[in-house]
């Protein structure tokens, strides 16, 4: 086979792959696109032509004004943001340290502990909703953001530990031993050498942890539905009624809710650079 043939085959394969990915991207993005364009329409505009772009006749910001003026939108926002950020920080710190211990140190029960933590990936945490609710009630944490943070940390840890452990296994052994010969203490090795090296993995884990928390409706609904503690997804529900749904407000608040998570995603995805370890070892 000549080189030209190989290249043509490569090219056609690339076209197919890109076609599939583009289709998937369109399918995934279209609902979001619909949400955003309809957020900028009048109520009539939404119902008359749900797929159409806002024009001079149908353009309106009434949804946004309603959301910002008539509800505690800033508060919902603040609650969601606090819960997400605090959870991410705790999950990343604890998961990274656990992963370091599991991957670096030999101790009895190491494998058993890793397997036990992996079970958390397979069993959905919502199965334990009743017990969790009982526990939170007993602890007197109902209607607090703390309750949400605690549950989300438990939810996020198993996968985070699993991913980070795999990444830490890839860090060359020589690097840690060089640090030990340099007289670097174990904590310093972890914070000054290991963590910077697995930054791409940490960013990945942050994204994985953050999205389900931001989007979650279940735990805010059962653990912290009270006034002043609602998160954004729960807050939006007030516009959805049994008989009448205020679509302008719902779509506007959903559009607004995309913004912070998008910003966080952009921050973390900038860290997803490959080849950070190149140059450490040959």
């Amino acid at each position: 086979m000549s080189f030209a043939n190989i290249r043509r085959e490569d090219a056609s394969r690339a076209v197919i792959v890109h076609a599939i990915l583009l289709t998937y991207t369109l399918v995934a993005l279209y609902p979001i696109f619909l949400v955003v364009i309809n957020a900028f329409k009048t109520r009539k505009g939404i119902f008359r032509d749900p797929m159409g772009l806002p024009n001079a006749e149908t353009f309106s910001l009434e949804g946004f004004t309603k959301v910002l003026a008539k509800s505690n939108f800033e508060l919902f926002f603040y609650n969601s943001f606090t819960v997400t950020i605090v959870t991410i920080v705790i999950v990343l710190l604890l998961a990274a340290m656990t992963a370091w211990a599991l991957s670096e140190y030999k101790f009895p029960g190491n494998t058993a502990l890793a397997l036990y933590l992996a079970i958390g990936i397979m069993v959905p945490i919502r199965l334990g909703s009743v017990s969790i609710l009982n526990l939170i009630v007993d602890m007197g944490l109902v209607n607090t953001l703390t309750a949400l943070v605690l549950v989300y940390v438990a939810q996020g840890l198993p996968l985070a530990i699993f991913i980070l452990t795999e990444f830490m296994h890839q860090i060359p052994k020589d690097l840690k031993e060089a640090a030990r010969c340099d007289g670097v203490g174990e904590f310093k090795i972890f914070f000054a050498i290991i963590l910077p090296l697995i930054r791409p993995a940490v960013a990945t884990v942050a994204v994985f942890t953050m999205i389900p928390i931001w989007n979650d409706l279940w735990f805010p609904l059962i653990l912290a539905p009270g006034d002043g503690k609602q998160t954004i997804t729960l807050g939006v529900q007030q516009f959805i009624g049994q008989y009448v749904t205020d679509w302008n407000a719902v779509l506007a608040s959903l559009s607004l809710a995309i913004i912070p998570i998008l910003i966080l995603y952009l921050i973390f995805s900038r860290q997803l650079i490959r080849g950070l370890t190149s140059g450490a070892v040959k």
């Binding site: 060359p172 020589d174 690097l175 031993e177 060089a178 640090a179 030990r180 010969c181 340099d182 007289g183 670097v184 203490g185 310093k188 000054a192 050498i193 910077p196 090296l197 080849g275 950070l276 370890t277 190149s278 140059g279 450490a280 070892v281 040959k282």
Partner: protein
């Protein structure tokens, strides 16, 4: 600067013994090279000295103090790894200063030490670069610099040149030799390359299967190998070996029959009891010359010819199937398929008994002796 003493060091992984009681003395300022084939335990021994592996048995002393249970940082060692092991997210400067900063040293003092090391290793221009922006040789120099700034009692090198290309390896080898002359520090160096061992070492430790085969200066090992293993390992191309029978033993000499039926008188102290036994005769390729002037003669068919310019290696196949390498002059015109005769003086011979131990040579001529 320190001396080092290994006393019956043993190491086992579970039921597998990898080091069987190593005894070794390293004097202050000595350049010691551990050399041996893969899996002989040389790297394990180095890692034990560094404190990266636990000791199963025996004592390790640095400066007369037992350091068995001390951590690497408290032993006062610095190690250079084969893979360089530089911190990829730090600049060259930070790589070198990192260990010092942790010791809470004065900033100006750290700076002075890093710049001094950079000057010695010609890294001045590269201090702000990251490891990924450096070539292999430069990276290895940074790794050496990181060791120098700590002013350790003992430097440990774990096959530092293995990842470099041939030209760079020779150059870096010379730099390490110069470094040792300048710093006069105690260095322990592990390699599987006997050329590195011969050129760098004050003292070579030849290891095999978790044991020390022989310890000595490069010339001692070359001229007076105590075992067949050392004889075969040191020298390139490797020594030729062939089986011979001891026919007669006299005062400081032994008569052996070499393949082809010839008898030769060799200057060795051999026990009367060994008459009739089969022993191994060893001759280095560079001691064999074309022609039959020497006391030991072999003839064979030329199998392969390797022309290196300054010399030509002829690979002969003897009548009994043994193979012999001969170093002929570079201008040699011998071709494949020719039958040639090569010979060596009796003093160049080595004789090993059936257990691989060398017989003692008597009246060794100066050219085959380590004495100066």
């Amino acid at each position: 600067m320190a001396d080092l003493k290994l006393d019956q060091i043993r190491k086992s992984y579970g039921a597998v013994d990898v080091l069987h009681g190593i005894d070794l003395d390293v004097k202050d300022g000595e350049f010691v090279v551990f050399v041996g084939p893969s899996g002989c335990g040389k790297s394990t021994l180095l890692r034990i000295i560094a404190g990266l592996e636990d000791i199963t048995g025996g004592d390790l002393m640095i400066d007369g103090e037992v350091v068995n249970t001390k951590s690497p940082r408290d032993r006062g060692i610095a190690m250079v790894f084969q893979s360089y092991a530089l911190y990829p997210h730090m600049t060259v400067y930070k790589n070198m200063a990192f260990g010092l900063k942790l010791d809470k040293q004065d900033k100006a003092a750290i700076d002075a030490r890093v710049r001094e090391a950079a000057r010695i290793l010609q890294l001045d221009q590269l201090l702000d670069r990251r490891p990924s922006e450096l070539s292999g040789g430069q990276r290895q120099r940074v790794a050496i610099g990181r060791a120098i700034v700590r002013q350790p009692k003992v430097f440990l090198f774990d096959e530092p040149l293995s990842n470099l290309d041939a030209a760079l390896r020779v150059q870096t080898r010379i730099e390490i030799a110069k470094l040792h002359q300048d710093l006069k520090s105690t260095i322990i160096y592990v390699t599987h390359d006997q050329v590195e061992a011969m050129t760098l070492a004050d003292k070579i430790v030849v290891m095999n299967g978790g044991n020390v085969e022989q310890v000595g200066s490069p010339m001692q090992l070359y001229h007076h190998p105590e075992t067949r293993f050392v004889a075969g390992f040191i020298g390139s191309p490797a020594m030729n070996f062939t089986n011979v029978t001891i026919d007669a033993v006299g005062q400081g000499q032994a008569t052996v029959s070499v393949p082809g039926g010839m008898k030769s008188v060799l200057p060795f102290n051999v026990d009367q009891a060994d008459i009739g036994k089969q022993v191994e005769l060893g001759i280095r390729p560079e001691h064999l010359g074309l022609g039959d002037e020497g006391a030991l003669t072999v003839s064979g068919l030329v199998d392969v010819v390797e022309k290196l310019g300054d010399s030509t290696y002829l690979y002969l196949k003897l009548a009994n199937g043994d193979r012999v390498t001969v170093r002929a002059p570079g201008h040699s015109r011998v071709k494949i398929g020719e039958t040639v005769t090569a010979s060596a003086p009796a003093g160049a011979a080595h004789l090993f008994n059936d257990k691989g131990k060398a017989y003692q040579k008597v009246d060794c001529p100066a050219e085959f002796s380590a004495e100066e």
